[in-house]
Amino acid sequence: MKRIGIADSRRSGAHQFRLAFAAGIVLAAMACLVVDAVAQPAQAGNTRPRRNRFLAQGRRLAAGPAAETPEQKRAREIMGLFLREGMSQRYSGEQVTRLYMGRVAETRQIIKCDGPGRLRMEYISPEKLKGETILITGGHIFHFKPPPENKILEGVALPEEFQARAVGFRQGVKNGTIHVQVVGQELIAGQQCSIVEIRSVSGGHFYLRFWIDEQTGVRLKIENRDPQGRSVSETAFTKVDYTTPIPQTEFRPNSLPNVPHEARLPETPPLPNVAAAQQQIAYTIREPAVPAGFHLNGVWVVTGRIGRKTTILRYTDGVNTFALFEVPIVEKQPGPGAARPRAKLRAMFHNDVAHWRSGDLNFALIGHLRRETMQTIAESLTKAE
């Protein structure tokens, strides 16, 4: 008797359970796929290298460069054209720059170049950067920041530095620590370009690609790639004009708005060594464990607005550079929103910046380096306490 009416209930119940079961399976499968997809790169990033990179690079360095191929020879010629002719050209144009680290960010800027050490870069987009201008002239860099900052940051950009970098590159190619190779051709802004790949044989795993105008030697595109060959940043001309003369007034500092100047960028040539920097500051400079293939190629001491002195140590492998900034901590009382900047700043690790505190110093490490390399450097400074 009691079974009468239950059949209907079972039919509707069966429908419900099928729906619920199917939904459960689909959701569980989706969850598994997503977990798997997320876990794989995380694992790859967290896994220590199978062999010690700091040691392995020494072996590669000892092996020396392989015999030169036609592509390598052509690359040397093209890079010679870039350093000899390209840096002396007068031209103007429009560039687009993109960062692919974390969120994609993009700027557009007008470039005016008037030979070696004379460059003007005016931002036209995005709105936030519009009007910002970088002027390099007379061995100085002037960085105009429009309102609300409304000031010009000033520092040095010495031709001697430029020459030293070019000489270092030539020597690196010659002795085989820098590998260059033509990997193709492409039209950029209507100009036929050779694509040259530049790698450090013994140093960092990031590498560069230059698109060099075959006629003028001007670099019309630059790309920085990670060890997996993915572009992390690029800047390319969308228009270039070699014929229209550029007024000389554009390269005078007084062409910039009349706003206060702040000399808070390096304003002297690099110091000869860390010991020379140590004489100028009260705290003890900490030197990191330097990745194989890199060497120190610049030390500066810069005084900030409130008198804090920053020590800058710059390292290079001939292709990649990274800079370590050390500045004493000035503690502030944490406000009610103290947790907020902490969370935001964590995201900076998505870019080429790492920063931390250790002892009485703030550290910032900026450069294209593998995360495990950054970690090794950071730990070496922390252990040195």
């Binding site: 050490g117 031709p159 530095e161 808070r264 964590r346 505190r357």
Partner: protein, 176 residues
């Protein structure tokens, strides 16, 4: 109550085994529902027919024999017990619960994956406290100046990178 709740209860309603409240609710529904009234009438007719059927009297010895034979029936062999267990697990009503449970687990896993904070760098990094934002911002700007005399640098990318860093430290003072 609606038809879906009332109809399974009709046989108990006829047998007067429902609670007072359930009976009152079934009554209230029957007062407005023709379909359930028809179902109730059909059921009553069936009950009446069954009640009107002739009864066969059996002897006491027959009942005693039947009971002893039922008592002697052996349980299913142990080797099939797990099959029965599985069947029990996948009864439709139990499956409904399984479906719901799987759904809940799936949703929870998905939510965990979507909203879980992800590590952004190798594990040890998070053990270190972060630097003062102003010092990071200042470093990013100074780094741009270091690139100015480097023919291999991408000055525009360095400036954009400094801006991205500055944006992320926007709650802080401009420089040191």
């Amino acid at each position: 109550m609606n038809c879906r709740n009332v109809q399974p209860s009709l046989s108990e309603y006829i047998d007067n085994t429902l609670s007072a409240r359930e009976t009152w609710e079934v009554d209230r529904h029957l007062a407005v529902c023709n379909e359930c009234n028809r179902a109730l009438n059909e059921m009553r007719r069936t009950v009446n027919l069954a009640g009107a059927a002739p009864r066969f009297e059996v002897s006491e010895s027959f009942l005693a024999g039947l009971q002893s034979r039922l008592a002697g029936v052996e349980p299913a062999p142990a080797r099939w017990a797990w099959v029965e267990g599985l069947r029990e697990l996948f009864r439709p009503r139990v499956l409904q619960t399984w479906g719901a449970a799987l759904g809940a687990v799936g949703t929870a896993a998905l939510a965990l994956v979507l909203f879980m904070p992800r590590p952004v760098i190798v594990p040890g990094e998070n053990r270190m406290p972060i630097a003062e934002p102003a010092s990071v911002q200042s470093a990013a700007r100074q780094n741009l100046a270091l690139q100015a005399a480097d023919p291999f640098a991408d000055l525009a990318a360095a400036n954009l990178s400094a801006h991205v860093s500055t944006d992320q430290a926007s709650d802080t003072e401009p420089t040191n």
